[in-house]
Amino acid sequence: MTNAIELAGVDKTFGRVTALRGLNLDVRAGELTALLGPNGAGKTTAINLMLGLGAPTAGQVSVLGGNPRRDDVRRRIGSMPQESAIPLALTVREAVTLFSHFYPAPLAPDHALALADLGGVAGRRAGALSGGQKRRLAFALAVVGNPEVLLIDEPTTGMDAQSRLAFWAAVSELKDAGRTILLTTHYLEEAERAADRVVVMNAGAVLADGTPEQLRSQAGGARVRFTSDLVLAELQRLPGVDTAQIDSHGHADLRTRTPEALLHHLFGQGTPFSELEVSRASLEDAFLVLTAPATTLSDKDVIA
């Protein structure tokens, strides 16, 4: 599969602040890639470079094989920025029609409105829309040029459940049509469900990169919680335990890749325990493990 976006050894500094540090990131064509990371990780800076809004301090940025600062590349990119950048005095349809004039082969404005599920409010002023509708208008502006690559920054922030549903339906339709989508989000369960691939950034560089399943398994396959009389040393001796924590009430919290073997052993040795809870590690667990400050990672071997 070819790469739609390639960032190679990219540095970006603003004065004395380093936003990106030797960032290497390839986004494969036709995939939905979720870019995750704590605030200040450099996600938005990376997207701005892919949009050609700025030039890297060092390294190469290439989108669809060209420099995104060139108009012939830009006309194949759609952008939905973090802030709801919409002209408040225009109606929804007027705004989308205006933007369609900037592209050589745009979608019909009504098509873009339908994709964003805005058909019902097409005649309403953008300034009078709800927060979620404003975000969907920003999405309609991003897709009306019929782009091959969509760069979406925090799409669902401020969206209600209905807007979110409409948004993900449209995104999966675009993905089915072969479009490349890169999005950042704080909602990890959404990324887990929709993304082909997850890239975790921290401090301006890539920390982890893989399918949601791969990242989950990096975090330790499962979380086993129960209450017993076992002390920490005994918990750590249980088979297959990667990490173990215990609080003063005897609540144990274990991470293991083999929860079945662990439970088998626990039953076998006849330890009385209660409040058993077994859950698969979520992407959120993986994310927290990956982006946790280094000091608390001392007993972890999960970083690939």
Binding site: R76, A85, A89, E94, F102, A105, G119, G120, L141, E173
Partner: protein, 280 residues
């Protein structure tokens, strides 16, 4: 707005079939329709904001009726009728305030609200955004001047011959360009809240100090000294000279307006680049 899930699903199914393959043609979107769409959007923005129309059409008419109507039939020491002179002064004031609000406070909002950034990420050159704004401002100015003249004509009995009026319109709109650039400087260098106040202050204070509200010879001496350093003073002088048919000295005023165009243009360009660098 509610849409049942069944309906959403049906729409989704319909959309999938319709999504056309992205165009890989090398051609770019035609510039002229895009410029027209940008100018139209800008005009809509102006017409739909009541406060904008009040500031750029209402105030000049109100000021004219308060300060001008009583004196339209007087004659100056040089033997010129006062009516047309007052009228063009308030016309120049109208252009000044339009330039300050449309290019000052509006740009400040569009810049910080992300709209300008989104346009920058689109394949359209940013110059088209400014060109569309300028076109809309000129069209709106023509409308505003037309309303002011209609009011002065029917209520105050002020008449300017058609030929002179058209020449005046062209000169006023041409002379408005440095004012729009001054507006852009405010838009790029001042925060949105401050830009609103700055636009107000600049348009009122500069109008007074340029002799648009009161003849300069009735103003304090220091104001008379400062006036030549204000673009609105030269625009007013060009307009008054045209309406009384005296073009001597007009070249000097145009030269001054050209100099302001260069200075404000350079400052606005610097502000634009500073803004781009910050957004990156």
């Amino acid at each position: 707005m509610t849409s049942p899930t069944a309906q959403t699903t049906a729409q989704t199914a319909a959309r999938t079939a319709a999504l056309p393959a992205p165009a890989r043609s090398a051609r770019r979107a035609p510039r002229l329709p895009a410029l027209g769409a940008l100018a139209l959007a800008e005009l809509r923005r102006m017409l739909r904001n009541p406060m904008f129309a009040v500031g750029t059409i209402g105030f000049p008419v109100i000021f004219f009726s308060l300060f001008g109507l009583g004196a339209v039939n007087e004659v100056t020491d040089q033997g010129f009728k006062v009516g047309p002179l007052i009228l063009v002064n308030f016309g120049a004031y109208s252009l000044l305030s339009l330039a300050m609000f449309s290019f000052g406070s509006a740009v400040a909002l569009e810049r910080t609200g992300g709209w300008l950034r989104l346009l920058r990420a689109s394949p359209m050159p940013t110059t088209l955004y400014f060109a569309g704004k300028l076109l809309a401002a000129l069209a709106f100015s023509a409308l505003s001047l037309g309303i002011l003249y209609t009011f002065a004509h029917f209520v105050g009995g002020v008449t300017i011959p058609v030929g002179t009026a058209l020449l005046l319109l062209i000169k006023l709109l041409l002379g408005m360009i440095p004012l729009t650039l001054l507006g852009l400087c405010i838009g790029f260098l001042v925060s949105p809240t401050a830009a609103q106040i700055t636009a107000n202050l600049v348009s009122v204070i500069m109008s007074f100090a340029s002799g648009l509200f009161t003849p300069l010879d009735q103003m304090p001496a220091f104001v008379q000294k400062v006036a030549p350093f204000l673009p609105a003073y030269h625009l007013g002088a060009v307009a008054r000279g045209t309406v009384v048919g005296q073009s001597s000295g007009e070249a000097t005023h145009w030269l001054a307006l050209a100099a302001f165009t260069v200075i404000f243009g350079a400052l606005a360009a610097w502000g634009l680049r500073r803004d781009e660098a910050r957004e990156q």
